[in-house]
C-alpha cells in the first residue's frame, strides 16, 4: 500500500499541484457554502479547466473541490438552516441549534474539523482497500467486467433519489448516449445522423454541464429571490474546535467508518451516510448530550460521515472503475479524458498516478481544516452575495468551459439541449446521476459484453458459467426482483 504513496509522491508534490489543491479547497468550500450549488457543480464547472492541466494537478484540483464542496455545505446549514448541499442536511439538526445558542463559531469549527478528520480516516481505508480490490479485480475477464458494470449502474439507478424505474430509465438513456459515435469494432458510424461532430459521440463534459449546471440555472431562476442578502452573525477565526472534536473521538472514528462503508456502495451517498451516522451517534449518546438541541456530537457524526463518504466513494471508482456517486462519476470521466483508465489496470500500469491521487485526497483533507477555519469570516461574506451575481457567472463559466474543451460551438448546442432535457427530467423527478454513470460505464459494458460473447461457445451462457460473473448477475437479478416487487405491490392506504 505504502509503495503506491511513494510512487505517487514525486507526481503530486509540485508547486502547481499544491497550489491547485489550495485553490480547489477554497473554491469547493465557496461553492458548497452557496445553497443550490455543491461539489458536483464545482467539479462540473472546473472540469474543462482541468483538461488544460497536467493529469495529477488536474485531479488534485478536482478532488480538492470534491472534498471542500462536501464540507462547505455545513456552513450555510449552521448559519441559515439551509444546507448548502444535500450532504449537509443532517448537520443542521444540531448545527443550527448550536448557532442559535451563540456557538456558530464552534459549530462551524467542529464541522470543518470533523469533515477533515473523517476524510483522513476514509483516506486510510481508501489506500488500504483500493489496491486489494483492484488486485482481486485483475482476475476479471470480459464477462465479469460486463456484469460489474451492470451491477454498478443498476445499484446507482435504484438507490438514487426518485423511483427505481425512473433511475433505470435514466441509466438506460446514459447507455444509449454512450453508444453514439464510431463503433470500436466495426468502425461503423452509429446514430450520428451524418453529423461529423457526433463521430466520437456527444462530449461528456457538454452533457454533464448541460444536465447539471444549465438545468440548475433554470431551476434557480424559477425560484426567485435574486437580490436577497441573508443576515449573518459576525464570524471570527478560532481553532478552539480542534480541541472540541477530540472529546468526540470515538464518535468521529465510528461515523467516518460508517460514511466510508456506505460511500463505497455505489449510489448510497453522503446524505444517507450522514443520517445513518447521526442516528447511531444519537442512540449511543447519553441523554444529557441533548441531540437535536445543539449537541456537538451531532455535528461531528454527520460531518465525519459525509466527508468519509467521499473517500469511500473513491474506492470502487478507482479500483473497479465503478463510480460511487455522481461526483465520482465525473471524476472518473475526467480521469478517462486525461488518458487513464480507472480500474485494476490503473494500479497495475499507472501505480504512480493512483498514488498521486491518494496523496491529493489526503492533502485536500489536511488543507481543508486549515483553510476552512482561517477563511470562516470570508464564507460569511460569500453567503451574502446575491444570486443575481452568481447565476450569470455560472452560465458564463459553463458556456466558455464547454467551448474551451474542443473549441467547438457544436458542444455548446449539446450543452443547451441537455440543459433543457435536464430541466424537464428534474421536474419529473428523474435522478440525473445515472445518466452520467450510464455514459461512463456504457463503453465498458458494451466492449466487455461483445468480447465475452466472442469468447463464448454457448452464447450468453458464458455469463452464468463463470462463478464470479454468475454471482454478480444473481445479485443483479435479486435487485431487479426487488424493483419489480416494490413497483407492483399494492400501496398502503394513507393514515387517517
Amino acid at each position: 500500500m505504502l509503495d503506491l504513496l511513494f510512487q505517487g509522491a514525486p507526481l503530486y508534490f509540485s508547486f502547481l499541484s499544491i497550489l491547485l489543491t489550495l485553490l480547489g479547497i477554497v473554491g469547493g468550500l465557496v461553492i458548497g457554502v452557496l445553497p443550490g450549488l455543491g461539489p458536483l457543480m464545482g467539479i462540473v464547472l472546473l472540469l474543462p479547466v482541468a483538461f488544460h492541466l497536467p493529469p495529477i494537478p488536474a485531479m488534485a484540483m478536482l478532488i480538492a473541490i470534491y472534498v471542500g464542496g462536501s464540507a462547505g455545505g455545513s456552513i450555510s446549514a449552521i448559519l441559515l438552516r439551509i444546507p448548502g448541499t444535500p450532504l449537509a442536511a443532517a448537520t443542521l439538526l444540531d448545527g443550527y441549534p448550536m448557532a442559535q445558542k451563540g456557538r456558530s463559531q464552534d459549530a462551524i469549527g467542529l464541522s470543518i474539523t470533523a469533515s477533515s478528520l473523517g476524510g483522513l480516516i476514509a483516506g486510510v481505508v481508501l489506500i488500504f482497500f483500493s489496491p486489494m480490490l483492484a488486485e482481486f479485480a485483475l482476475r476479471f475477464a470480459p464477462p465479469e467486467y460486463a456484469a460489474m458494470a451492470m451491477l454498478g449502474l443498476l445499484t446507482i439507478a435504484i438507490v438514487s433519489e426518485g423511483s427505481a424505474i425512473k433511475g433505470m430509465i435514466a441509466g438506460g438513456f446514459g447507455l444509449l448516449i454512450a453508444s453514439i459515435g464510431t463503433d470500436e469494432f466495426t468502425n461503423a458510424y452509429r446514430y450520428t445522423f451524418g453529423n461529423i461532430n457526433l463521430s466520437s459521440g456527444p462530449n461528456l463534459v457538454a452533457v454533464v454541464v448541460g444536465l447539471f449546471a444549465l438545468s440548475e440555472l433554470f431551476v434557480q431562476i424559477e425560484s426567485g429571490n435574486f437580490l436577497a442578502r441573508p443576515q449573518i452573525q459576525k464570524l471570527r477565526i478560532s481553532f478552539h474546535a480542534l480541541r472540541l472534536v477530540l472529546r468526540h473521538r470515538g464518535n468521529l472514528l465510528r461515523s467516518a467508518l460508517i460514511g466510508t462503508g456506505l460511500g463505497a456502495i455505489p449510489g448510497a451517498g453522503g446524505d444517507v451516510s450522514a443520517f445513518v451516522s447521526y442516528a447511531v451517534a444519537k442512540r449511543m449518546a447519553r441523554e444529557e448530550e441533548g441531540y437535536g438541541q445543539g449537541a456537538e456530537g451531532g455535528v461531528v457524526a454527520t460531518e465525519a460521515a459525509n466527508n468519509g463518504c467521499c473517500g469511500g466513494a473513491l474506492i470502487p471508482t478507482l479500483s473497479l472503475g465503478i463510480p460511487g456517486d455522481a461526483s465520482t462519476a465525473v471524476l472518473l470521466g475526467a480521469l478517462f479524458l486525461l488518458g487513464f483508465f480507472p480500474g485494476p489496470d490503473l494500479f497495475a500500469q499507472n501505480a504512480d498516478v493512483a498514488g498521486g491521487i491518494f496523496i491529493a485526497y489526503l492533502a485536500s483533507n489536511v488543507v481543508l481544516v486549515v483553510l476552512g477555519i482561517l477563511l470562516v469570516p470570508f464564507f460569511g461574506m460569500v453567503l451574502k452575495v446575491p444570486k443575481a451575481w452568481l447565476l450569470p457567472a455560472v452560465l458564463l463559466l459553463s458556456t466558455m468551459g464547454t467551448y474551451a474543451l474542443q473549441n467547438s460551438l457544436f458542444d455548446l448546442g449539446v450543452m443547451f439541449f441537455f440543459g433543457v432535457v435536464g430541466y424537464v427530467l428534474r421536474r419529473a423527478s428523474y435522478p440525473l446521476a445515472p445518466i452520467i454513470i450510464g455514459m461512463i460505464l456504457g463503453p465498458v459494458l458494451e466492449n466487455n459484453f461483445r468480447r465475452a460473447l466472442l469468447l463464448s461457445r454457448d452464447g450468453p451462457m458464458i455469463f452464468i458459467e463463470r462463478p464470479v460473473s454468475a454471482t454478480i448477475l444473481a445479485i443483479v437479478a435479486l435487485m431487479l426482483a426487488y424493483v419489480v416487487y416494490t413497483t407492483i405491490r399494492p400501496r398502503r392506504a394513507p393514515a387517517p
Binding site: K166, L391, Y403
Partner: protein, 161 residues
C-alpha cells in the same frame, strides 16, 4: 391526468421515442454499412438494440404507473412569479449561443451578461460594469492562462489571445 403529470408525460414521450430511433437507425444507416448483423464483433446494432428493448419495457411500466396514478408525486407545471423570467433567460441563452460565432466572445458576452443582470433585478450601470468585468476576467483566464481561443466572430477580435 395530462396536467397533473405534465413533466412525466414529456419525459415519457422523450424516452419512448429513443428506442424507436434506435430501431430505425439499426434498420437503416447501420444495415447499409453492413454493421447490423453477424457475430458480436461485426454487429454494432446488437448491444444498443438490447438496451432499446429494455427501455421499451421500462417505458411501458412507467406508462402504466402514470396512467394508474401510482407515481409518488405529480409533476404539473406550477408557474412561480419568475417562471416567465426563466423562459426569457432560456431564450437569452439560446440567442447568445447562436450569436457567439457571429459576434464573437467580446461583443456577445457583455451584452448577454448585462441583459441577464438587468433581468435579475440589477440596475443598468451596475449591470453594465459587472458584465464588462466578468467578461474580461473570464477572457483573461481562458485566453491568457489556458491559451484557449474564444470565439472570434466576424470581426476576428481578441484581447488576450
Amino acid at each position: 391526468m395530462l396536467r397533473k403529470y405534465a413533466y412525466d408525460w414529456a419525459a415519457w414521450l422523450f424516452f419512448a421515442a429513443l428506442p424507436l430511433l434506435v430501431f430505425q437507425q439499426n434498420a437503416g444507416p447501420l444495415a447499409e454499412q453492413g454493421a447490423a448483423s453477424g457475430g458480436p464483433m461485426a454487429n454494432a446494432a446488437i448491444y444498443p438494440a438490447i438496451i432499446a428493448w429494455v427501455m421499451v419495457g421500462l417505458a411501458a411500466v412507467n406508462l402504466l404507473r402514470i396512467l394508474g396514478g401510482r407515481l409518488a408525486q405529480g409533476s404539473a407545471p406550477e408557474p412561480t412569479p419568475t417562471t416567465r423570467l426563466a423562459l426569457w433567460a432560456t431564450l437569452l441563452v439560446l440567442v447568445y449561443l447562436l450569436a457567439l460565432p457571429w459576434l464573437g466572445y467580446y461583443l456577445s458576452t457583455p451584452l448577454m451578461l448585462a441583459i441577464f443582470f438587468v433581468l435579475l433585478g440589477l440596475r443598468l450601470p451596475l449591470a453594465a460594469a459587472g458584465a464588462l468585468a466578468m467578461t474580461m476576467v473570464v477572457a483573461a483566464v481562458f485566453e491568457g492562462l489556458l491559451n484557449v481561443v474564444l470565439p472570434l466572430g466576424i470581426f476576428k477580435f481578441t484581447l488576450f489571445g
